[in-house]
């Protein structure tokens, strides 16, 4: 078991109070697993990814633990996290298009980053070139400034940089959202390739696009308003979702599993609750057609069949 997240709570501190963006999140990620992470905008996907590598100044670790390869990940201790960053846990940020310093040539920036992390750039130069070619880039991009690259090229450069030290866990946050359909496929395929070649052990692939993630991920986890609602093998989530939210999400897809259709998460009536003062009980109950009296208590996340977890009183 590479990653084990247990009852993780991370809040944003704001002037109006705590935004409970992760409110008790529990899941496991196996060696070699690519897990798609889906859910409506604002449900806490990016927050979950960031929590595993670096809390920003407004984020506060309120409770819960993360374990990677049997060792505790001290997410609240910024200095203690440094050795893990990049080498064990790495990130392709949601803002990958602007993740590169605009005034440095890419190659020079990479070298400076590597040297700062105690790696001799010369030792890794061949590998860097090989991987750039693997994702379909000319190694000449290293002599260019970020502004000279297209969005898709920048996305791929960041992908190569982030995985250069072969981390155990990679968090890929919406790497395909800003790309056109064919580039999306190419990027998604290279991500799988990276896993297959062992450049990264396991991966959390955050996305809005369930039909894309269905084709590349082993498992899919669905979040709703700071909670996990369901996690199961990709095919199970698509074909036999158990949680009402997942069912509506899948039902909202125009044509499940078809390759060219971009499934966007929309079409469920109502909006998710605010996370500043979230309602008690099941957070989906206001929009859930099956809600009943028991739903005013929070449903626990239980394993309803091997490898299939759901948090709903109706499925338990």
């Amino acid at each position: 078991m590479t990653l084990r997240v247990n009852d993780l709570k991370v809040y944003y501190q704001t002037l109006r109070g705590d935004v409970r963006a992760l409110d008790g999140v529990t899941f496991d990620l196996a060696d070699g697993e690519i897990m798609g992470l889906a859910g409506e905008s604002g449900c806490g996907k990016t927050t979950l990814g960031k929590s595993m590598i670096r809390l920003d100044s407004r984020m506060r670790h309120v409770g819960g633990t993360i374990e990677l390869n049997g060792k505790d990940v001290p997410i609240a201790d910024d200095d203690a996290m440094v050795p893990l960053r990049y080498r064990e846990i790495s990130l392709i940020p949601q803002y990958a298009m602007s993740a590169l310093n605009p005034t440095r040539k890419i190659g020079r920036m990479v070298n400076e980053l590597l040297r700062a992390r105690g790696v001799r750039p010369a030792d890794i130069a061949d590998e860097l070139n090989r991987r750039l070619e693997l994702v379909g880039l000319d190694t000449d991009v290293l002599n260019r400034f970020p502004i000279e690259l297209s969005g898709g090229m920048k996305q791929r450069v960041v992908m190569v940089i982030s995985t250069l030290l072969d981390p155990s866990l990679l968090i890929a946050d919406e790497v395909t959202s800003a790309l056109d359909v064919s580039t999306q496929r190419a990027v998604a395929e290279s991500m799988v390739e990276f896993r297959d070649r062992g450049y990264v052990k396991s991966m959390i692939f955050v996305t809005h696009d369930i039909s894309l993630v269905y084709q590349m991920a082993d498992t899919i986890m669905v979040m709703y308003a700071g909670h996990i609602v369901e996690k199961a093998p990709a095919a199970t989530i698509i074909n036999e979702p158990k949680h009402p939210y997942t069912q509506m999400l899948i039902g909202a897809l125009p044509e499940v599993g078809s390759t060219m259709v971009q499934g966007r998460l929309e079409g469920i009536p109502g909006t998710p609750p605010g996370l500043l003062n979230p309602p008690t009980g099941c957070r989906f109950k206001d929009r859930c057609p099956m809600a009943f009296s028991k739903c005013s208590e929070q449903p626990p996340l239980v394993e309803i069949e091997p490898g299939h977890w759901a948090a709903c009183w109706k499925t338990g």
Binding site: K50, I53, R54, D56, M81, V82, P83, L84, R85, Y86, R87, S90, L91, P93, Y95, S98, A99, L100, N101, P102, T103, R104, K105, E112, L113, A116, R117, F145, I147, E148, L149, S150, V158, I161, S162
Partner: protein, 331 residues
């Protein structure tokens, strides 16, 4: 790159031509007879000189020649460095008077601009990373930028010049001395230079410090800084990037500010009675010496244009974003 420089040069040339033309028009399209009013105001006592000057200027204006010819003559004179003869200090050529004043202005301007820019950026960058410093630099900076220049200059002249008597508050050097290359004269020159310099330096300092502080804080929050931090890059590296990127707008800021700084230096010279171009403008206005005024304006315009051009080129050399746009190397 060269195309860009060429384009810029063209724009500057155009600006120059327009400035010269406006300058040429001022005395010519003034109501009344500018020569007569100028000479009568100038109170030239020697009748011989008055007559010589009257005929000289009438001739210069060439009032009977067609306008375009007058205009071309003006350019021809300009290109030969001939800006006419001063009324106020007849028969000294305007060019000589200006060249005599320029060193004083430059000696004030260059150190004040550059030092305030360098020191301000340093302080601002420090402030961005230390709370204690931030709590002192920021208020002091705001006070300095908010203080009206006149007020600050007078305060300095009064406190350090008149009350404490450490530095002379007026003039370029003591009346008792003659310009020469001696220790006595040079130290006298420096002590006269100090107060006007300090006032300009202080006024500009606050703005640069605040600007730099805000830019660095902004850069440290930028996406690339967050990405590097997520990959465990040390603060040192991120700060270095942030500092460099924050410098870029400061350089543009310098270019934008140059015009106002030069105007500021004119004010300084007037307050401290410092013998540079600013005092010259005041004197020539008082004496209705249009040709001197014209010459000084031209000089100032050329100075601003050259300074802006230099900064334009520096900016291109250091910011890859503009560089890329210009060379069209994007794919």
């Amino acid at each position: 790159m060269w195309r860009y420089i060429g384009r810029k040069l063209f724009v500057y040339l155009l600006t120059f031509i327009v400035a010269v033309t406006i300058n040429w028009m001022i005395p010519r399209f003034m109501p009344g007879d500018p020569v007569q009013s100028m000479l009568s105001r100038a109170q030239v006592s020697d009748p011989e000189a008055l007559e010589a000057m009257t005929s000289y200027y009438e001739n210069l204006f060439g009032l009977n020649a067609p306008l375009y010819e007058q205009y071309l003559n003006f350019w021809a004179g300009l290109l030969r460095g001939d800006l006419g003869i001063s009324v106020m200090r007849y028969p000294e050529p305007v060019t000589d008077i200006i060249l005599g004043a320029v060193p004083y202005t430059l000696a004030l301007l260059l150190p004040a601009i550059l030092l305030s820019w360098v020191v301000g950026n340093r302080f601002g960058a420090f402030a961005a990373r230390s709370k204690i410093l931030d709590n002192t630099v920021l208020p002091v900076g705001y006070i300095l930028t908010a203080t009206p220049y006149m007020w600050l200059a007078l305060l300095l002249a009064w406190s350090l010049g008149i009350v404490a008597g450490i530095f002379p508050a007026s003039g370029g050097y003591s009346f008792s001395l003659r310009p020469e290359f001696s220790w006595l004269f040079i130290s006298d020159l420096i002590s006269h230079w100090f107060l006007p310099f300090l006032s300009m330096f202080l006024v500009a300092l606050g703005g640069w410090a605040i600007g730099m502080r805000n830019m660095i804080i902004y850069e440290l929050e930028a996406d690339y800084a967050n990405y590097l931090q997520a990959l465990g890059a040390p603060r040192k590296l991120i700060r270095r990037y942030a500092f460099r990127n924050a410098m870029l707008p400061q350089i543009t800021g310098l270019a934008v500010q140059l015009g106002t700084i030069i105007a500021g230096s004119l004010l300084t010279e007037i307050v401290f009675n410092y013998p540079g171009l600013g005092s010259l403008i005041l004197d020539s206005l008082n004496n209705r010496d249009f040709f001197l005024l014209q010459g000084v304006f031209l000089f100032v315009v050329v100075g601003v244009l050259i300074a802006n051009f230099i900064i334009d080129i520096v900016y291109v050399l250091i910011d890859p974003r503009t560089r890329v746009q210009m060379t069209g190397g994007s794919s």
